[in-house]
């Protein structure tokens, strides 16, 4: 299940980056710890058969590059516009994953993105992290979910 989730998120990130940012040179690797001082953390809360958060960690340079590509404008600082645009991308990736999960009879919903860091004090049954490397920088995903219905998958 953890492996499936990992793959589903990596694939969805791939597809969305390819489609929206025209990036094709993308690779991924599991990440135990991702150290980056200057990053924007976007948490997408998930509710339903799986509950928890998926946290997207976009380093500042990655965030600025992504929004510059999308807007065709030079973007120099992380402001409300940038945060909102990358939050929507995190939302789109997560939504695509839920579509895949729903074909496995897992029903989940997303709550609106929030800018926050992972809660280290909570326990999660399904916990995995990955780093996705692109030509415009890294993105790391922290998946922290609990199964609500144990009979699934």
């Amino acid at each position: 299940m953890v492996d499936n989730l990992y793959k589903a998120f990596v694939d969805a990130t791939h597809n969305v980056f390819h489609l929206m940012l025209d990036l094709s040179d993308i690779s991924d690797h599991p990440a135990d710890e991702f150290q980056c001082d200057d990053a924007v953390d976007i948490a997408i809360p998930i509710v339903g058969d799986l509950e928890g958060d998926v946290i997207y960690r976009f380093p500042v340079t990655t965030s600025l590059n992504m929004v510059s590509i999308m807007s065709g404008m030079q973007v120099e600082e992380v402001d409300a516009f940038v945060t909102s645009a990358i939050s929507e991308i995190a939302n789109i990736i997560s939504g695509n994953v839920l579509t895949v999960l729903s074909t496995n009879e897992m029903t989940c919903d997303l709550l609106p993105p929030v800018q926050r860091q992972p809660d280290e004090n909570k326990e999660y049954e399904l916990k995995t992290s990955c780093c996705i490397q692109t030509t415009i920088g890294l993105v790391c995903l922290d998946i922290r979910l609990n199964r609500v219905k144990a009979n699934h998958v």
Binding site: M20, M70, M73, A85
Partner: protein, 142 residues
């Protein structure tokens, strides 16, 4: 220019509307992110916002009509996405008016709108064209 040819569906009415939407979003971003005093940008932004409120609804309606005309199986789900966006636009513009034209709200709105539009047109709307082609009813000889 934000528009890319790969967004084309091959349905001239819909493609023209998409191009117009991209143009308006671009002009909205350029105005809202230009240097200078926020108060001075408000009239132009309000004008674009008002235009978008009407145009988005018209476009969604026309696109849904087109989907019906080709018996697109994803019609209901697509309509729900449209409704969600219309509600979002109306909610934000109400908050914006209530806040007496707060800049942060419009910057947030611009960011979400940009990413949403690119994904919706490049992914969701494209599926309509894929279906039309599969069915042999696609436009532009695609």
């Amino acid at each position: 220019m934000l528009w890319k040819d790969k967004y084309e569906l091959g349905v001239s009415q819909i493609d023209a509307q998409h191009k117009e939407l991209f143009r308006r979003v671009e002009s909205f971003m350029q105005t809202s992110r230009s240097a200078g005093n926020w108060e001075e940008k408000v009239p132009k932004l309000n004008e674009t916002l008002e235009f978008m409120k009407t145009y988005v609804v018209e476009h969604f309606r026309d696109e849904e009509e087109y989907q019906k005309s080709i018996c697109y199986p994803g019609y209901e789900a697509h309509k729900q996405i449209h409704t969600g966006m219309v509600n979002y636009v109306l909610e934000v513009s109400k908050q914006y008016e209530d806040s007496n034209f707060n800049e942060q709200l419009m910057q947030q709105f611009g960011g979400k709108l940009l990413a949403w539009l690119i994904n919706h047109v490049a992914a969701e709307d494209q599926r309509i064209a894929d279906y039309a082609i599969k069915k042999g009813v696609g436009g532009n000889g695609r």
